[in-house]
């Protein structure tokens, strides 16, 4: 097991290197530091000195890949690529273009993100599974059809409308919860209820439909028919046979997003003013702070690859037929 994990992590290195090269190409070759400086300094007629100064302050004055001016030691390390990208591998994110330490910002803003994303994730999955089971219980009936139509309708509504609608009715009209904002500690609950509910409701359509298909696939298998044939009651078949076996593909398919929960949701966090990583990224995008966007791209990739590895491991845990190789 340990050997497998280490090997998988080693496989991840070239992928992360690829991610870094890609973002590097996007950020430094398409958009050269000179242009960045011009945009940041905000004036079309900035003096050359000002640009040079801006670049020196942020370490953008070095060569891209190979520093021919340096001797063997600094040949590869004293370059923009090494300074800005290779350091990410040890999670040294450096400073943002504004001058703040990105690593500290991330570890501080991670928790509000998690406080929204984790309950949404857990409640969302439970609700979807319960609904899907309920629909499967009445499969091939008018209720089933109606539920599926409802799911398609829910699925066809943009997430933005769920948020706008939720904020309007629950916060503005009925004054049940604050419209937006965030407080640390237990006070946070008041602010978290609405985003979590909206996150769950927005996912019901797609989730229920998908899980219903998975449960139905299970319900058509031979062992279920055998169980029925030997006289097991319909409820027992559903809860003792279909549910546990149907949960396997469901759980293994959601494992991949668990690490990414740290990243938070861009949309929900910015609408509700939650100071998490999602709104952090969004602010960086809007302020054109490339250092932060670059760090978040890297972090997101790392967490996604971690999710893939966890998925493979979870397969072996729930299904003994699958072996790690």
């Amino acid at each position: 097991m340990l050997a497998y994990i280490i090997r998988r992590l080693a496989y991840a290195l070239p992928i992360l290197l690829g991610v870094n090269l890609l973002t590097f190409a996007l950020f430094f070759m398409v958009n050269t530091p000179d242009q960045m400086a011009r945009v940041q300094l905000g004036d079309k007629h900035v003096s050359e000195e000002a640009i040079e100064q801006w670049k020196t302050q942020r370490g953008y004055d070095k060569p891209l890949f190979i520093n021919t001016a340096e001797n063997s030691e600094g040949l590869l390390t004293d370059t923009i690529f090494f300074e800005k990208s290779a350091r990410l591998f040890v999670f040294d994110f450096g400073k943002s273009d504004e001058g703040r330490v990105i690593g500290a910002d991330i570890s501080e803003r991670m928790w509000p993100s998690l406080a929204v994303a984790l309950p949404t994730f857990i409640i969302g999955i439970s609700v979807n599974i319960v609904f899907a089971l309920f629909v499967v219980m009445f499969r091939a009936s008018a209720f089933d059809t109606a539920a599926m139509v409802l799911c398609v309708v829910l699925l066809s509504i943009s997430g933005v409308f769920y948020i706008l609608g939720g904020q309007y009715f629950f916060a503005k009209l009925w004054h049940l919860v604050p419209i937006s904002g965030y407080l640390a500690g237990t006070d946070a609950i008041r602010f978290l209820i609405l985003p979590v509910i909206i996150g769950v409701v927005a996912g019901i359509g797609g989730g229920t439909r998908l899980y219903r298909t998975l449960f139905l696939e299970e319900a058509n298998k031979d062992y279920v028919r055998t169980a029925r044939a030997k006289g097991v009651s319909e409820t027992a078949v559903l809860f003792r046979h279909i549910l546990p076996n149907g949960l396997i593909p469901i759980l293994t398919s959601v494992v991949v997003v668990i690490p990414s929960l740290f990243m938070g949701s861009l949309l929900i966090e910015s609408f509700f003013g939650i100071p998490g990583l999602g709104s952090y990224t969004l602010d960086a995008i809007q302020a054109q702070d490339f250092a932060i966007v670059r760090s978040m791209v890297f972090l997101g990739s790392v967490l996604y690859i971690l999710g893939l590895i966890l998925t493979d491991i979870s397969y072996t845990l729930v299904d003994p037929r699958v072996r790690l190789s």
Binding site: L26, R38, V152, L155, S158, L164, L267, L282, Q286, M296
Partner: protein, 474 residues
């Protein structure tokens, strides 16, 4: 006769503007036509399409999508109108504004600006203004709108007028539908009689009832909108007094194009890489797998945001390439489509690779190898036809995803150009409006309804297509 010549003159004097996205959408429609023509020669595919169009949801949603597509196509023929000639010069200058054929149809809507917000069907403005009575006394009240309800002699007739006009629209719509349906039913009966006389058995037919109902509803909606929009702002006006209905109709083009172009622009990449990985295996497979794992491990929204920021910088530093606002917006729009496609082609590529791996092991492919058939020919004749259903399913499934994504991206500020009409931009602007008191709800509602209908139709249609073409889900 005079009128006709003046119209002709006007038509000849315009300067057509060809935007890249216009070209692409027409190429797309043409190639879709060709694709369906090819499919119609394939008996198995024909059988599958028959199951799609014989389901009521399938055919109804298809008609709705066609309707949207038609509007988008009309909105994709652009031109610049000539400006009035200045004294003493023969040179013709063209307007900086680019209009489309759809704008001509909706001229009345486009030119009916108010000062600021007004509610749907309102005849009074939403905001109070200082006004003067005839004897010079200044008072503050809601002013009458400049372009809504002007024909009303008595304001108390407002509600009655809306009702009467709706009824009129209903009658006109009923008449048009009755004529079309009547003619078609008569034609069908004649066809049937001919078939019977030739001794052909009647095949199972399309769900005509649903088709007629959908068409009638569309005709009704068009008649109602055309009749009432003449004298009212059906969906109100926005902050600067523009008709919301006009902008939400203009946004259809953006939605439809982003849904189709995003997949299509990266489709060649997915097909070529996916098939080569599955067919040639070995190092090709390794390289392709590496590429799509790397791309898919970057969070999509961040990749899009980063690329769009860079495009903004490019546009800012190369202003000479974009002489018109519309050209700039179009460039950004196409780039956005391409990037959206880049974030999604990896999934399709993976599916194509897996399916090619499977198909290339089949006996007839082995036999082709044994006969000495070349790689290109095997791929074209034996592999490609057996994986087209995956491409098709991906195309229709991604459509609604991209339409929804556009709204989110424009909200975040990395979507289409703010000068372009899009539902995302409308929602984005409406955010501050929702916190006003009383609430300005109509532009959000307009974007919601138009987007919802399109996405719902696309989802229903893609479900039917998937059921018909995916052997696993059957």
């Amino acid at each position: 006769m005079n009128e006709l010549t003046s119209v002709m003159n006007e038509l000849l004097s315009i300067k057509p503007v060809v935007l890249w996205s216009d070209v692409l959408i027409y190429i797309l429609v043409a190639s879709l036509g060709l694709f369906f023509y090819q499919l119609s020669k394939n008996p198995l595919a024909r059988q599958r399409w028959r199951t799609v169009f014989h389901s009521r949801a399938g055919v109804a949603s298809f008609i709705v999508i066609l309707f949207y597509l038609l509007i988008a196509l009309l909105d994709s023929l652009h031109y610049r109108a000539p400006l009035e000639k200045t004294e003493g010069s023969d040179e013709v200058h063209y307007s900086q504004e680019v209009h489309s054929v759809l704008d001509v149809v909706l001229t009345e809507l486009r030119n009916k600006d108010e000062k600021t917000y007004s509610a749907p069907f309102a005849i009074y403005s939403f905001a109070k203004e200082n006004m003067q009575t005839d004897d010079g006394v200044v008072y503050r009240d809601f002013p009458r709108l400049a372009n809504a309800g002007q024909h009303l002699a008595d304001e108390a007739d407002h509600g009655k007028d809306v009702f009467v006009r709706s009824m009129k629209a209903l009658l006109v719509a009923a008449f048009i539908s009755a004529v079309i349906l009547g003619l078609h039913i008569a034609w069908r009966q004649r066809q049937q009689r001919q078939q019977c006389s030739r001794g052909l058995t009647t095949q199972q037919t399309l769900p005509w009832g649903t088709i007629y109902l959908t068409l009638s509803l569309l005709v009704l909606a068009c008649c109602w909108v055309l009749e009432l929009s003449k004298v009212y702002h059906i969906l109100g006006t926005d902050k600067v007094g523009q008709d919301v209905l006009y902008w939400s109709i203009k946004a259809i083009r953006t939605g439809v194009l982003i849904g189709t172009l995003a997949t299509l622009l990266t489709l060649p990449l997915a097909i070529v890489l996916g098939i080569s990985a599955g067919y040639f295996k070995g190092w090709v497979d390794d390289v392709v797998q590496y590429i799509y794992t790397t791309l898919s491990s970057i969070p999509g929204i961040l990749l899009i945001a980063a690329s769009v920021l860079l495009i903004d910088v490019y546009i800012e530093t190369h202003p000479e390439q974009f002489n018109l606002v519309a050209v700039r917006a179009d460039f950004k729009f196409l780039a956005l489509c391409f990037i959206l496609g880049m974030t999604s082609w990896t999934g399709l590529c993976r599916l194509l690779r897996a399916e090619t791996l499977k198909v290339s092991q089949l006996d007839y492919v082995q036999a082709a190898h044994a006969f000495g058939v070349g790689h290109n020919r095997i791929i074209y004749r034996h592999i490609l036809p057996n994986i087209t259903h995956i491409i098709l399913i991906a195309l229709v499934l991604d459509f609604s995803v991209f339409v929804l994504a556009e709204a989110v991206l424009s909200y975040i500020g990395v979507g289409v150009d703010p000068s372009m009409a899009s539902w995302g931009n409308m929602i984005n602007e409406a955010r501050s409006e929702l916190s006003r008191d009383p609430v300005v709800w109509w532009s959000v509602a307009a974007a919601f309804v138009l987007m919802f209908v399109l996405v719902l139709a696309a989802n229903l249609f893609s479900d039917r297509v998937r059921d018909a073409f995916d052997p696993r889900s059957a």
